[in-house]
Amino acid sequence: MTPLLKVENISKFYGRRIGCKDVNFDLYPGEVMGIVGESGSGKSTLLNCLAGFLTPETGEVLFEMRDGAMRDTVTMSEPERRMLSRTDWAFVHQHARDGLRMNVSAGGNVGERLMAVGARHYGNIREEAIDWLGRVEINETRVDDRPTQFSGGMQQRLQIARNLVTGPRLVFMDEPTGGLDVSVQARLLDLLRGLVREMGLSAIIVTHDLAVVRLLADRLMVMKDGHVVETGLTDQVLDDPQHAYTQLLVSSVLQV
């Protein structure tokens, strides 16, 4: 099997400070990769480099296009990259407000990506939007309500629907459960796990919440001060941490 995403020697500096340095990994189709680490460890920088929001100083991000060719998304032209980011890629922001249009109805939010790739039939767009709202457990009657009238958990679910409607192959998630209370988190994680399995999505999830990766991720990458300190299968890393920092991280989790 060939990897869907091949990350080679990605480094990003902010002046003389390190954002992230020499990151390498492969992501295979259907695989979920978790990136954990404390605040400022470079995990968000890395994710933004991968998703094309930041330009890394060195390295390549090779993505398998639909024709099977591996293309470097760092050096590809901006129109191509933006096309990718509204078809094959999806980005779920930590704050739903960053990823949604707050003054556009839920249906319009979900439909935007469809219209961006050329859908011009109102009835079909609306049907698809309603179908997706159902899949993220938002009642059909809310389709014409604005996200401002939604609760935080609903906004996050709406953001996920909006991102997945075009059937992307790779989803970037930046703290998808941040700021939600635990029971809402649990439902969201349940939903995400279902969608990832059902659609065969590959995903990269950045989080500082070990419970999230335990539940969702197949593989784990631990970052500290811009460097990757440990990688491995999730259960392996969490149950038998090798690096001192990972040991600290795992033992810091409160047991209730």
Binding site: R86, V104, M115, A116, H121, I125, D144
Partner: protein, 293 residues
């Protein structure tokens, strides 16, 4: 007259504006930035249109100014006087006589010719503005032809009102490339934009000029199942009886009486001169005859 340079603006400024106009004509629908000047009128009164007109006028031109179709409203009268005073050009109210027509939010009913120029006053040139507040982002969207967002606006309309309720400033796509705001003309006028005359758009506050060369392809955006419709009040003009012109609804009294009249005053007047008569005009003249007899 000698107190002003011809048409108020100095020659260097007119040259700069003409460059912007030429660039606009070369790239139909593209918003060309220009160094908009302070004009002796407030923003929102047509400072963009006035500057474009000033740069377009020659001493031989005949100018017509309309405001919502009418020649005799404040905005039209003051701009016409402005150019009569500063350029000494001839003014007219007849569409056929004019070589330059400055308009606020209407296209004359009469078909324009190749030797005419139509100048629009534009308040907000960016069609994506209310959906995407960032100018950097909207420019990028124009350059990359990412216009999905424009349809989100139409989608919202249908979701909210059951039909595309946008009735003016209806977005168009020019020559299959740029999405353009046609200024707040009623959507009834949109199909007329594929015309023989040159169309120039000036936005003074926003400092943008854009243009449509003659016979340019202008397509109003829509959905397959909700096609574009050039709507007007379903009525005939009560003054001249025209059934194919854009109508203003005038409330007559507080008993609910109303009448519909052509918004294009020149069109209506010339039709009445030619002997056409609408329902209320006919009733009034019959009543007049009766009192005389």
């Amino acid at each position: 007259m000698s107190d002003y340079n011809f048409a108020y603006l100095d020659e260097q400024t007119k040259r700069m504006i003409r460059r912007a106009i030429l660039k606009g004509l070369a790239i139909p629908g593209y918003q060309v930035p220009f160094a908009s000047r302070e004009m002796p009128m407030p923003y929102g009164w047509g400072t963009g249109g006035v500057q474009v007109s000033a740069a377009t006028l020659t001493p031989d031109d005949t100018l017509k100014v309309i405001d919502q179709g009418a020649d005799d409203t404040t905005n039209a009268v003051s701009i016409r006087k402005f150019f009569e005073k500063t350029a000494g050009v001839q003014a007219t109210e007849e569409t056929a006589q004019a070589s330059v027509i400055q308009t606020r939010h209407r296209i004359p009913e009469e078909d324009l010719r190749e030797d005419q120029i139509l100048v629009y006053q534009v308040p907000i040139p960016e069609p994506l503005r209310f959906l995407e507040p960032s100018e950097v982002e909207t420019r990028k969207m124009h350059s990359l032809e990412e216009y999905g967002l424009m349809h989100v606006k139409l989608y919202e309309d249908i979701a909210k009102h059951g039909a595309i309720a946008t009735s003016y400033a209806y977005p168009v796509k020019v020559e299959g490339r740029y999405v353009m705001d046609p200024s707040p003309i009623p959507k009834f006028d949109n199909p007329k934009m594929e015309m023989a005359a040159i169309q120039l758009f000036g936005a003074g506050r926003e400092q943008r000029i854009y243009a449509l060369p003659p016979y340019c392809q202008v397509v109003s955006l829509d959905f397959e199942d909700y096609p574009f419709e050039a709507s007007k009040a379903d009525h005939a003009c009560d003054m001249c009886g025209a059934t194919n012109s854009y109508l203003d609804e005038v409330i007559m009294d507080d008993a609910g009486n109303r009448m519909f009249v052509c918004s294009d005053t020149d069109f209506c007047t010339s039709r009445r001169k030619a002997g056409h008569m609408g329902a209320q005009a006919a009733a009034a003249s019959a009543a007049l005859k009766e009192t005389a007899a």
